[in-house]
Symmetry: C2
Subunit: 348 residues, 2 copies
């Protein structure tokens, strides 16, 4: 993906001052969230900064008096299944810097996001993590321009903002699952994917398809299903379809633990053995995975590590490091359990 | 419980100034978190305030320049199963005041609590909610004295702090469950309680015992079990014991949804009908309850409402309301589903 950086770096604080009709000192004050600028002038400067794509360098930001040792996460979904683990990862990284982490919830509403950002800037956060709690997807920039405050995106990304976005390597996760199923001798692999509108769905299909094709055991179109939701119910219904096919699969890969759990139920119901007749792999490694009968082999989303990377990158920027546009994909990890290798295997 | 208020209100700002050897103006500055007080003097004043139990009135607090429209929750367990719902309730209340809510996690560690509180005060929160994400229990006061900032406790309580603590009415919840089981004609009620060290355990046993005794169908000691954990596994094992008793129960009340879920499995395994042979009631109303076979009748913990009450009480204090020591117990609500009334009933 092309970086918007090359353009942005040509704009200077003088350009902003000139276009906004103020002194560079005033721009500086706005950049450093100083209170002695009227609201109208402040807004005009921020609008100009946004319009010109101006990005202050570390020196301009360094004018800020001192650090507050506090950063904030703004999530779009407090109850998203990944919010807590992501925040814990951020806290791990922040602990090393002796920095406190606060969490605010925008409910995915731009007005709430703007209001929270305004108040977080007022409270002088050293940096911000803008995060989705449930779904990787592209988004526009922060709902309020953040010229003075470093930020990163986590579990979502902006196509052109000159900051890092930390994402899971969904494609690589599917490669791990596919390679594992090949390694245990499976060749007729059924795939229950998630709803087609999710990015993870395309990425995981891509990883699976490429790996099986490279091994000379291409994914059969008849063995692919797209669930309408990520639920066990859909996993159950679609696994039943696959098991009823003329050439039923010898393995089922569910694109979420819930989908895979539904598949386990469908296989049990037919009296088939897991993994002898049909091996099953899930995706996510939510806490339920290890408690299935049999315990579910699954691709673990690297939520803690993603949070750590986001916190680390943010705090490097807080301490003067330069940011640029980049998508950082953190590798997933395969957790091998009895649903693919039988009960003799020591689960982990 | 006796209030510590009567004593605390006799101490004045002059007393604090005199004991600390500073002027009342200096005490005022400390109370309002003004920066122009040295760290040693500040600490001496805070220690004196804590030792004397001084509690400034709204006027003393009103010296603070203006509100920041930001409050914070400090939880002891980010991943506690109740943290998210409690925070959502607080946000509901805060929305009505157009106030933002931030969350920080102490991991239940006093040092972290102190550090977070210091930084939250530095960031001038209008008020603080000190919360447990998983367990009602008594605690000492805040790890850092909060003379200038209103606060409340949520899902935990301090025995003597002159502020409200918002708790669930666990006893009343058990009364609802017991009355419902009596109403559907059950008289031999088995009770699978949680670990004896939890307060909720004693409260729920008390509510159940009193209600059954009043109805002339006293709880039989032979039908009471204490689980070592709140898990489905323990619920399963103890329900099996109850079903094997000489006079097996015609209803099982599990003190958590997980315990009750284990009981459902044990009853199914014996080929008994639910609710015809054995009715089952849980406690908590976690999302899993409605998805059981059959859907589980349960006592809903009033998490959202507790959060709302905490937010409301805090913001009243932020706006000058007087606080005092009180334990506010928010009523639970019974959710009647098929595990007690059969499939003909419309679930809610």
């Amino acid at each position: 993906m092309a970086s918007a950086n090359s353009t942005a770096q040509r704009v200077t604080i003088r350009d902003v001052a000139s276009v906004a009709g103020v002194s560079t000192a005033t721009v500086s004050k706005v950049l450093n969230d100083r209170p002695d600028v009227g609201p109208e002038v402040r807004q005009r400067v921020l609008d100009t900064i946004a319009r010109l794509g101006y990005r202050p360098n570390a020196v301009a930001r360094g004018l800020r008096a001192r650090h507050t040792d506090t950063i904030a996460i703004l999530t779009d979904d407090l109850e998203g299944i990944f919010t807590n683990a992501l925040m814990r990862g951020v806290e791990d990284a922040a602990s090393a810097y002796d920095v406190s982490v606060l969490l605010a919830n925008s409910y995915g509403d731009p007005d709430r996001e703007r209001k929270h950002l305004r108040r977080l800037l007022d409270r002088q956060m050293d940096g911000l993590i803008i995060m989705s709690g449930n779904r990787v997807r592209p988004r526009s920039g922060p709902a309020l321009p953040l010229p003075a405050t470093p930020y990163v995106f986590l579990y979502e990304y902006a196509a052109t903002e000159p900051v890092p976005s930390i994402l899971p390597d969904d494609r690589g996760g599917a490669v791990l699952a596919a390679q594992h199923l090949l390694d245990i001798g499976r060749r007729r692999i059924g795939f229950i994917n998630g709803p087609a509108s999710w990015e993870a769905t395309a990425d995981r299909l891509d990883g699976l398809t490429a790996t099986l094709a490279a091994a000379g055991a291409p994914l059969r179109p008849a063995l692919i299903r797209h669930a309408a939701s990520w639920s066990p119910q859909d996993g159950y219904a679609l696994a039943t379809e696959l098991l009823d096919a003329p050439e039923p699969p010898d393995a089922i890969f569910g694109a979420s633990d819930d989908l895979a759990t539904g598949a386990l139920a469908a296989i049990h119901e037919r009296g088939l053995r897991i993994p002898e007749d049909v091996a099953v792999v899930g995706f996510d490694d939510r806490s339920l995975a290890v408690h299935q009968r049999p315990p579910l082999t699954t691709v673990a989303l690297p939520l803690l590590e993603m949070g750590r990377v986001a916190g680390q990158r943010l705090l490097e920027a807080v301490n003067g490091g330069q940011q640029r546009h980049e998508l950082i994909r953190v590798p997933c990890e395969l957790r091998v359990r009895a649903s693919t290798v039988g009960a003799g295997h020591t689960p982990r």
